[in-house]
C-alpha cells in the first residue's frame, strides 16, 4: 500500500470517528472539535486519494489550503457564538439537546 493510500484510509477512519462524536455529544465544544477532526480527515482523503499512484498534484493541495482557511474561520465564528451562549445561559449544550 502506498503512503498516499494510507493517508486516505486514515482520513476515512477519522471522518467516521468524528462523525460519531459529532452526533452523540451534546457539549458544543466537543462537537466543534469533532468538526475540526472531520475536516482534517476530509483533507487527508482529498490529497491522499488524488495523489494515490499519480504522484504529487498541486490542485488538491491548493484546495486543502483553501479548505483550512475556511475551517479556521468557521471555528472562530463558532467559538465566539459559543462563548456568548455560555455567558448568556451558563449552558454548554443547546436547550433541545439538554432536554434529552
Amino acid at each position: 500500500m502506498s503512503a498516499d493510500r494510507l493517508y486516505a484510509y486514515v482520513g476515512a477512519a477519522l471522518v467516521a470517528l468524528s462523525l460519531y462524536a459529532f452526533l452523540v455529544h451534546t457539549h458544543l465544544l466537543r462537537r466543534l472539535l469533532a468538526f475540526n477532526v472531520m475536516g482534517g480527515g476530509t483533507f487527508l482523503i482529498l490529497v491522499g486519494l488524488a495523489q494515490d499512484g499519480r504522484g504529487p498534484d498541486p490542485v488538491p493541495q491548493a484546495l486543502v489550503l483553501t479548505g483550512i482557511v475556511v475551517a479556521i474561520s468557521a471555528t472562530a465564528l463558532a467559538i465566539i457564538l459559543l462563548r456568548r451562549w455560555f455567558v448568556f445561559s451558563q449552558a454548554t449544550a443547546l436547550p433541545e439537546d439538554e432536554a434529552q
Binding site: F35, L46, V59, T66, A74, L77, A78, W85, S89
Partner: protein, 496 residues
C-alpha cells in the same frame, strides 16, 4: 457591451461594500445608509445589465485574473445564473431598504448589531453571486461555506438567547452539510482529476465511487436546504432573526444549496442518478410539504408560522427530482420549468411575507398570531402585502406560484405520476389554511384593553408590497423569463 467583463463585478461590488461598511462602522449612520443605498442601486443596475446582455448575446464565461481552470477560478453566466443574480439584487435591495428604515426608527443605539449587520449583509450577497456564477465544484464549496457563515452571523444578531441558540444550531447543521459536500468533491476529484462542471458532465459514469460521491454531496446539500426530516434547524433560525434577515434567508440562502443540487443532478451527473433515488428525494419533499404545512397551521408565533411555511415550500422544489428523472423528455422539461418558476416566485413572495409579518409585529408589539386581533383595520397595507404573497404561495391564479404549480401538475400528468398530484393539491390546501388563519385573527375585534398599535414607517409597506406585486406579476409574464432561464439547460436540450 461584453457580458464576460461584467461577471467579476457581480462579486467585486458586494465584496467592496462589505469591506467599506466595516470601515464606515464607527461613522455617522447617515454615511453608512447613503453608502448602502448606492451599493444596492449599483448592484441592481449591474445585474439588470448582465441580464439584458446575456439575453442578447447568450451565455458567457470569465476566467478570473486570466487564470483558467483547474488552478484559476472560472465564472459562468447562463440564463438561470443571471436570473438568480438579478433576483438576489432585487430581494437584497428591498431587504436592505427595510433594514435601513428600521435602523433609523427602531434600533438606534444598538451599536454592535448594526456594526456587524452590513458587512455580513454584503458578504451574504457575495456568496450568493459566487454560487450562482461558479463553474466548478470547489468554488461552489467555498461559496457554500461563505454563505453559511455569513447567514449564521446574521441570525446571531437577533435579540437575546433564542437567536444565539438558533445560530449555533444552524452553524452545526451548516458545517456538517458542507463537510459532507466536500467529501463528495474529494471523491470526484480522485476519480476524474477535474472539478470543472462542464468537463465533469461528459466524464461521470455510474460507478460505485461516483454514486457514493453524489450521495454524500446530496445529503450535505439537503441538510443545508433543510429538506424534511433534516429541517430542524430552519424554523428557529428563520423565525428569530431580524426581519430583513429572515426574509433574505428564506428567499435566497436556502436556494443556494438547492441550486447546487439541481445543477449536479440535472446538468452534471445526469448519467449517475437513478430514478429510485429521485423518488426518495421526492418522497422527502412531499413529507416537507405536508409536515411543514401542518406545523405552520399549529404554530402560535407569526414569524415561526412563516418559517414553517418555508420548510413546506422548499418541499415543492424537491418534487422536481421524481418528476424529471427517469420520465419522458416533456415531463422533465415541464418539471424543470415549474420548479425554477416556483423558486423565483417563492423567493419574492416569501420575502414579502416575512417583511409584512415583521411590520405587523412591530405595530402590535408582540409576535403571536393571536395578538394580531384588530390589525386588519389599522395595518391594511401590510396585511394586503401579506395576502398577495399568500396568494402566490397557495398557488391561486393569477400569480407566479400558480403558474409554477400548474407546470408541476402538468409534468406529473405527463409522466403518469398521480401520487405527486395529491401532494401538490394538499400542500396548496394546507397553505391556504395557515394564510387564512392569520387573516381570521387579524380581522377579529381586539380584546378590551388590547389593540394599541404603533405606527410603522410607510417604507415598510412599500417594500413588502413591491415584492409581493412582483410575485403576482410573474403570473402574467412568466413565459419569457422562464424561457430565458431554462435556455441551454441539459434537461431542456434533451426535451427538444
Amino acid at each position: 457591451m461584453n457580458g464576460s467583463a461584467l461577471l467579476p463585478w457581480m462579486l467585486v461590488v458586494p465584496l467592496s461594500w462589505a469591506t467599506g461598511t466595516v470601515l464606515l462602522a464607527h461613522r455617522r449612520h447617515a454615511y453608512t445608509h447613503a453608502f448602502n443605498t448606492v451599493g444596492s442601486l449599483l448592484l441592481v443596475a449591474l445585474a439588470a445589465t448582465l441580464y439584458w446582455v446575456t439575453r442578447e448575446h447568450g451565455p458567457t464565461t470569465h476566467a478570473l485574473g486570466g487564470w483558467s481552470a483547474p488552478l484559476g477560478i472560472g465564472l459562468r453566466a447562463d440564463g438561470l445564473a443571471v436570473t438568480l443574480v438579478l433576483l438576489t439584487a432585487i430581494v437584497s435591495g428591498a431587504c436592505g431598504w427595510y433594514a435601513r428604515t428600521s435602523e433609523r426608527t427602531e434600533r438606534q443605539g444598538k451599536g454592535t448589531s448594526q456594526r456587524y449587520f452590513w458587512p455580513l449583509f454584503w458578504l451574504l450577497i457575495t456568496a450568493l453571486n459566487g454560487i450562482w456564477l461558479a463553474d466548478d465544484l470547489f468554488n461552489l464549496y467555498v461559496g457554500l461555506e461563505l454563505l453559511g457563515l455569513s447567514a449564521v452571523g446574521l441570525v446571531a444578531l437577533g435579540d437575546g438567547e433564542a437567536s444565539l441558540s438558533a445560530a449555533l444550531r444552524y452553524l452545526m447543521a451548516a458545517l456538517l452539510g458542507s463537510l459532507a459536500y466536500l467529501l463528495g468533491v474529494a471523491l470526484v476529484y480522485a476519480s476524474y482529476g477535474t472539478l470543472a462542471l462542464p468537463e465533469l458532465a461528459g466524464l461521470l459514469s455510474r460507478e460505485p465511487i461516483t454514486q457514493l460521491a453524489l450521495a454524500l454531496m446530496t445529503v450535505g446539500l439537503c441538510l443545508k436546504t433543510a429538506l424534511f426530516p433534516l429541517h430542524g434547524w430552519l424554523p428557529p433560525a428563520h423565525g428569530v432573526a431580524l426581519t430583513p434577515v429572515s426574509a433574505m434567508l428564506s428567499a435566497l440562502v436556502v436556494k443556494g444549496s438547492f441550486y447546487i443540487l439541481f445543477r449536479l443532478w440535472s446538468d452534471v451527473a445526469e448519467s449517475v442518478v437513478t430514478p429510485l433515488a429521485a423518488q426518495a428525494l421526492g418522497a422527502l419533499g412531499a413529507g416537507a410539504v405536508l409536515w411543514g404545512g401542518w406545523q405552520a397551521l399549529r404554530e402560535s408565533s407569526l414569524k415561526m408560522l412563516v418559517a414553517h411555511s418555508t420548510v413546506a415550500q422548499l418541499g415543492y422544489l424537491f418534487l422536481f427530482f421524481p418528476l424529471a428523472v427517469g420520465t419522458g423528455a416533456s415531463a422533465a422539461a415541464l418539471a424543470t420549468q415549474g420548479m425554477l418558476l416556483h423558486l423565483v416566485a417563492h423567493a419574492l413572495a416569501k420575502s414579502a411575507m416575512f417583511l409584512a409579518s415583521g411590520t405587523l409585529i412591530a405595530s402590535v408589539g408582540r409576535g403571536g398570531v393571536s395578538d394580531l386581533a384588530g390589525v386588519g383595520r389599522h395595518m391594511p397595507m401590510s396585511l394586503f402585502a401579506f395576502g398577495l404573497a399568500g396568494v402566490s404561495l397557495m398557488g391561486l391564479p393569477p400569480s407566479g406560484g400558480f403558474n409554477a404549480k400548474w407546470l408541476l401538475l402538468q409534468s406529473a400528468l405527463a409522466g403518469g405520476q398521480w401520487l405527486w398530484l395529491i401532494v401538490l393539491l394538499s400542500g396548496g390546501l394546507l397553505t391556504a389554511g395557515y394564510v387564512f388563519r392569520v387573516f381570521r385573527e387579524s380581522f377579529r375585534d381586539p380584546d378590551p384593553g388590547g389593540g394599541r398599535f404603533t405606527t410603522t414607517p410607510r417604507a415598510y409597506d412599500w417594500v413588502a408590497l413591491a415584492l409581493a406585486t412582483l410575485s403576482i406579476a410573474l403570473g402574467f409574464a412568466s413565459r419569457s423569463p422562464l424561457a430565458f432561464m431554462t435556455n441551454g439547460l441539459a434537461v431542456m436540450v434533451r426535451g427538444q
